[in-house]
């Protein structure tokens, strides 16, 4: 997999910029949140100023007047309480915005996935796609919620504190600016060192978990080959390396994180004390200002600590964003349609004209396929695994684009139709009847709200699925659990039939189930199939030849070519491939022996 691991700083900026664009639709709440933040910051920095006034104007001067002091106290308390509320609102607002931004990103990724062609799904494991939609976006959420919010809040607080300090004493405030470069240097160093050691740690924990996972999967092999000790040793080596990396990480955090910032804090206090101390030797100074400065400085360092702790998440989120954007930029889209509004399916005549198709552009899996299915006729496709039967359905359903030849429906190229026209009129029943989470009803209706409960019952009745559904404790409202594994494969197949019948398609495409189906259900399935085919053009992939004896046309495929064609009787008479396949399924031992010996 072409996983993105490292990005240049230019790429990082680009990713960041694109991410920030996602904030655009939320500009109003964002402005509101910033306003709140401004208020909070003002509230936070006024507290020490009020205390300073109290100390300098009243206590230090021994000037106790009830009126103004009470006013001061009320203002102070009011600001504290109001500020707590504003702070809460502001923090909530920022998180809400971040969550909404991520939701949009998530929906965009998911929509993109839905628009991709099946070729993309062939080359990308399901797990990888899922992790783009969920885990990677989750990592970006972490960044928006914790990193960016703290960044912005700290920045505001920083501005507010310095503004207050400049108001109180310009010279000292300017002096305090001096330790900024030191802090920036520490942050820079920390980022540099920690990003390396942190990614090493993450890489090792990844390896450790992969090793454990693999060992658990292959435990019987390890045990049978008596490699328990060696594998334990290998695991331990990795575990020790992880331990070393962990200790290394603790060391870097210890050197540069909180202890270092706390040391700078003390240096800042020293600067303040020296300044006031030296000034006081010449002129009187106000103790309240000293108090306010010391207080501001302690407030300032807490967010610095927080920002630094979040830095590592930032890197991770950028990498995740890059992966998400790569998927959003993916070009392997589903086949495009010309959407001719006049193209309407009336009769359901299907014609394949010299269709040649390849999945990878190198090896043709269908060669020159030509046949016609007249309205209401059944065409059966038979052949060995890999002969190309499923590929015919894949291109007929527009899952894959084909380059050579054409497929016509009612005389018009399949590429001219609006995709919805095709989907509404062509019903495909897949071999493996995929059931979704939800009730039986949900599974028959899917998301199509035009299908009423009555329609559902009728469809179920039509394919004889009603009998087993009505026996369920909750009937049509029974929950389907674990992808329907509580139902037999025959029952699942009937549900899939009902799902297709509910849409009443003009063209029916069937991929017969190969799974073992109990005889009782098997019979019901056959009856249902017969009814379904009535009056519909049907293309069926048959695994059991007994089910297609009455097909109007049987195509025998071998390695992507039609090698035999005709109806059941004609093909049997030919004594070719079809005949042999028929014997395999129905033949008596003597017939088989005869054919085998004849060939051998």
């Amino acid at each position: 997999m072409d996983e993105i691991r490292v990005l240049s700083s230019k790429e990082q900026r680009k990713v960041m910029f694109r991410l920030i664009k996602y904030a655009k639709p939320h500009i109003k709440p964002i402005i509101f949140a910033f306003l709140l933040l401004c208020l909070v910051t003002v509230g936070e920095v006024t507290g020490p100023i009020l205390i300073k006034i109290f100390i300098d104007d009243y206590i230090a001067k021994n000037n106790i007047v009830a009126g103004p002091i009470i006013t001061l106290a009320v203002i102070y308390l009011f600001i504290q309480i109001a500020n707590a509320f504003l702070m809460y609102l502001q923090s909530l607002k920022f998180q809400e915005i971040a969550l909404k931004i991520i939701q949009q990103l998530r929906i965009d990724v998911f929509s993109k996935v839905q628009a991709l062609g099946l070729r993309y799904f062939d080359k990308t494991p399901v797990g990888t796609i899922v992790s783009r939609v969920t885990n990677d976006t989750e990592a970006i959420k972490e960044m928006f919620v914790s990193v960016l919010a703290i960044f912005i809040q700290s920045f505001f607080l920083f501005i507010g504190i310095f503004a207050a300090m400049f108001i109180l004493d310009v010279k000292l405030a300017a002096l305090c600016l001096l330790f900024l470069p030191v802090l920036i240097w520490i942050i820079h160093m920390y980022r540099k060192l920690s990003s390396k050691s942190f990614s090493a740690l993450r890489e090792l924990i990844g390896q450790l978990n992969a090793k454990l996972n693999e060992s658990l999967q292959g435990m019987s092999i390890i045990q049978v080959f008596r490699q328990e000790q060696r594998m334990s040793k290998e695991f331990n080596d990795l575990n020790s390396r992880h331990y070393d990396a962990g200790i290394h990480n603790i060391k870097i955090n210890g050197l540069l994180l909180r202890p270092a910032v706390d040391l700078v804090h003390i240096v800042a206090i020293i600067i303040v004390l020296s300044f006031f101390g030296i000034t006081s030797m010449e002129t009187t100074i106000e103790i309240g200002v000293l108090y306010a400065f010391v207080n501001y400085i302690s407030r300032f360092f807490e967010p610095v600590n927080q920002v630094m702790q979040q830095l590592t998440f930032f890197q991770q989120a950028i990498v995740s964003s890059a992966r998400v954007f790569k998927l959003l930029d993916e070009k392997e889209l589903a086949p495009q349609q010309k959407n001719d509004p006049q193209a309407v399916i009336q009769d359901g005549k299907i014609e394949f004209r010299n269709v040649t198709f390849s999945y990878d552009g190198k090896q043709d899996v269908l060669k020159n396929i030509t046949f016609t299915a007249n309205p209401g006729e059944t065409v059966a496709l038979v052949g060995h695994t890999g002969s190309g039967k499923s590929s015919i359905i894949n291109i007929l359903m527009r899952f894959y684009e084909f380059e050579h030849g054409d497929i016509l429906i009612d005389g018009k190229s399949i590429k001219d139709y609006d995709i919805n026209e095709l989907r509404d009129n062509m019903g495909l029943v897949l071999q493996d009847s995929f059931l979704f989470y939800g009730t039986i009803k949900d599974n028959i209706r899917l998301h199509n709200l035009n299908i009423s409960d009555e329609d559902i019952k009728e469809a179920a009745k039509f394919v004889q699925a009603d009998k087993f559904i009505e026996k369920l404790p909750d009937g049509y409202n029974q929950q389907v659990t674990e992808r329907g594994s509580t139902f037999s494969s025959g029952q699942r197949q009937l549900l899939a039939f009902a799902r297709t019948m509910a849409t009443n398609p003009k063209i029916l495409i069937l991929d017969e189930a190969t799974a073992n189906i109990d005889t009782e259900t098997e019979e019901m399935i056959q009856q249902a199939l017969e009814k379904m085919r009535e009056g519909r053009t049907t293309i069926v992939i048959a695994h059991r030849l007994s089910t297609i004896q009455d097909a109007d046309l049987i195509l025998v495929l071998h390695k992507g070519e039609i090698v035999e064609r005709g109806n059941h009787q004609q093909l049997l008479a030919e004594k070719g491939l079809y005949y042999k396949m028929y014997l395999l399924q129905n033949g008596l031992a003597e017939n088989i022996a005869e054919v085998v010996q004849h060939k051998v």
Partner: protein, 582 residues
């Protein structure tokens, strides 16, 4: 708190680290008291205009020394305490791994790998947190909190201390309560998230159905709904999470208010100085963290305790297949006599094998055939002693297999399992899996016998090509043949091929069987197969049906009997014809 008792063994073992770490925390807690005091003294000197350069220099020197010492101590307690907690994680991980290697197949049938992984990752992390941050928050909140309060009460004013501290316990109480609430809501948010994850997984797995019914838009809407849920649940988390800062800020604000208000009174009546008041306020600032830590402590310990219980339960799982006392050290050799009256898998009543009785002479080849689920693999698993608890006995070289040491018994076998499992390593390492010190020649020879040598040379990196999840993807046939080479390399007394030729074509199968015959003179081979051509030359063929022996003999005799074997053989011959297009 129970978890600390449970972890006592570790604290004892790491006594030195923990005591040193706690001692450093103690020193930091004391040194921390200096700066506020110094600020107060200097403020008073400034107020009284008695400060001289010399005095200022002295106090600054004190601050510098205190600052540097704190830096050093803060660095080292991290190394000691956090270092020890990382060590605990390492120890537990190793224990779990070693325990896993001793568990039998029965254990792996009962447990899901995902759950086992969760214990080894999330639970261990929670325990590590308990032994690190848990210890830190407890010790630090008690030490720092205690010292600060003592310093405030003794050096400034105990009355003022009492008054100013009134709002502080509220912080500890509230944050602890938030922590519990947050955890519960966070769990719900996680659930919503994993629901969304499942939905995504389902949509992608069922993409064909969705496309067939033209339901892309509707499915996206469904996804939107679920993601709304995720947002909603996360906002619920944010609603609690956002409470922390305002609560602390309000409580601290009120605390400052009380201390300044009442402090002013004390300053005016002369019981404390203005500098004392400033120092007092700075001390108050130092109390925020211990209060927070105290609230966190209970949350950390609560989670750690649950995790430790889960991990212990796993480590206490009994090892069900182990060596008997005085077990035989030598590897078995000789005839294999199987006489199984009945076998069921543990926790399952279905009889899997019944009345299986046969003897296979040393150096002979046994073929086992039958439908899926007839009991072929189960029989092999008993032979390998992956399961026990059958009625009857299995003897090799005249002795029951239970009497051998497990290690000695398995040394006699080379096993090629049905599901070909390769490790994420090079092909070379995979073939030499059971004999890591094998020479190049040995590895190449094994690969040649398994007819995979040429395939391997065809890869860009030859034998160094990495396979497995993170490497190149091989075809099923290639994987099977590498698994065969892995077993052949050992030149085992008994080679077992469990349906291991299913993914190779008939010609390759023939090549492999021929070279096995040539290279394994005098050694026993057991083959199970669906394709009868794989066992048709065996010295003994057993047809299993529903756990019982239905037919027994050699190819020639079986072809003369009317039965499953003959039917199947002809059937497969025809199948081969169809595969070749008639």
């Amino acid at each position: 708190m129970k978890v600390f008792r449970d972890l006592a063994w570790f604290f004892k073992q790491e006594k030195k680290a923990y005591l040193s770490g706690i001692f450093m925390l103690f020193l930091v807690a004391i040194l921390q008291l200096l700066p506020p005091r110094v600020i107060g003294i200097v403020a008073d000197e400034i107020g009284a205009r008695t400060l001289t350069l010399g005095k200022l220099g002295l106090w600054i020197a004190v601050l510098i020394v205190a600052g540097l010492l704190m830096y050093v101590f803060r660095y080292y307690w991290r190394i000691y305490i956090f270092g020890a907690s990382v060590k605990l994680a390492r120890i537990l991980r190793t224990r779990l791994y070693e325990h896993f290697t001793k568990m039998s197949s029965h254990f792996y049938q009962r447990k899901r790998i995902g759950d086992l992984m969760a214990h080894a990752t999330n639970d261990i992390q929670a325990i590590q947190q308990t032994a690190g941050s848990g210890v830190l928050t407890l010790v630090d909140s008690l030490l720092t909190g205690g010292f600060v309060i003592i310093a405030m009460a003794t050096t400034i004013s105990w009355k003022l201390t009492l008054i100013a501290l009134l709002p502080m316990p509220i912080i500890a109480l509230l944050t602890n309560w938030y922590g519990t609430k947050l955890h519960a809501r966070f769990k719900k948010a996680q659930e919503a998230f994993s629901f969304l994850n499942d939905k995504t997984q389902e949509s992608i797995s069922g993409i064909k159905v969705i496309k067939t019914f033209g339901q892309e838009k509707e499915d996206i809407n469904d996804f939107k709904k679920l993601s709304d849920e995720v947002v909603e649940k996360n906002i619920a988390v944010a609603k609690v999470d956002s409470l922390y800062d305002p609560t602390i800020s309000a409580c601290v604000g009120i605390s400052f208010f009380l201390s300044i208000g009442f402090g002013a009174k004390f300053v005016l009546d002369g019981s404390i100085t203005l500098g004392d008041l400033i120092a007092f306020n700075t001390y108050l600032g130092l109390l925020i963290w211990p209060m927070l830590a105290f609230g966190w402590f209970f949350n950390i310990v609560e989670r750690g305790s649950a995790s430790y219980d889960r991990v212990s339960r796993l480590l206490n799982e009994k090892i069900d297949i182990k060596d008997h006392e005085h077990a035989i050290i030598e590897s078995p050799k000789g005839n294999i006599e199987v006489n199984i009256a009945k076998f069921c898998y543990p926790d399952n009543e279905k009889t899997v094998l019944k009345n299986i009785k046969f003897t296979l002479g040393q150096g002979k080849t046994l073929g086992i055939v039958g439908k899926t689920g007839a009991g072929k693999t189960s029989l092999l698993k008993l032979l390998l002693r992956e399961f026990e608890g059958y009625e009857g006995e299995i003897r090799i070289g005249g002795k029951e297999i239970k009497e051998y040491r497990l290690n000695a018994l398995r040394k006699a076998f080379g096993y090629v399992p049905q599901e070909h499992f390769l490790f994420s390593a090079s092909i070379k390492e995979n073939i030499a899996f059971a004999k890591p010190d094998a020479s190049e020649e040995e590895i190449h020879l094994a690969a040649k016998i398994a007819a995979v040598h040429d395939d391997i040379l065809g890869f860009a990196e030859g034998y160094d090509t990495v396979v497995g999840e993170r490497g190149v993807s091989l075809s099923g046939g290639q994987k099977q043949r590498i698994s065969i080479a892995r077993a052949i390399l050992l030149n085992p007394e008994i080679l077992i091929l469990d349906d291991s030729l299913s993914a190779v074509d008939a010609k390759t199968e023939e090549t492999i069987l021929a070279s096995l015959k040539e290279n394994r003179q005098g050694k026993t081979t057991i083959i199970t197969a669906h394709r009868l051509s794989a066992i048709q030359h065996a010295d003994l063929i057993i047809v299993l049906d529903e756990g019982k022996i239905a037919q027994q003999g050699v190819h020639k005799t079986l072809m003369k009997e009317d039965g499953w074997y003959k039917d199947m053989y002809l059937h497969q011959q025809l199948e081969a014809l169809v595969e070749h297009g008639g």
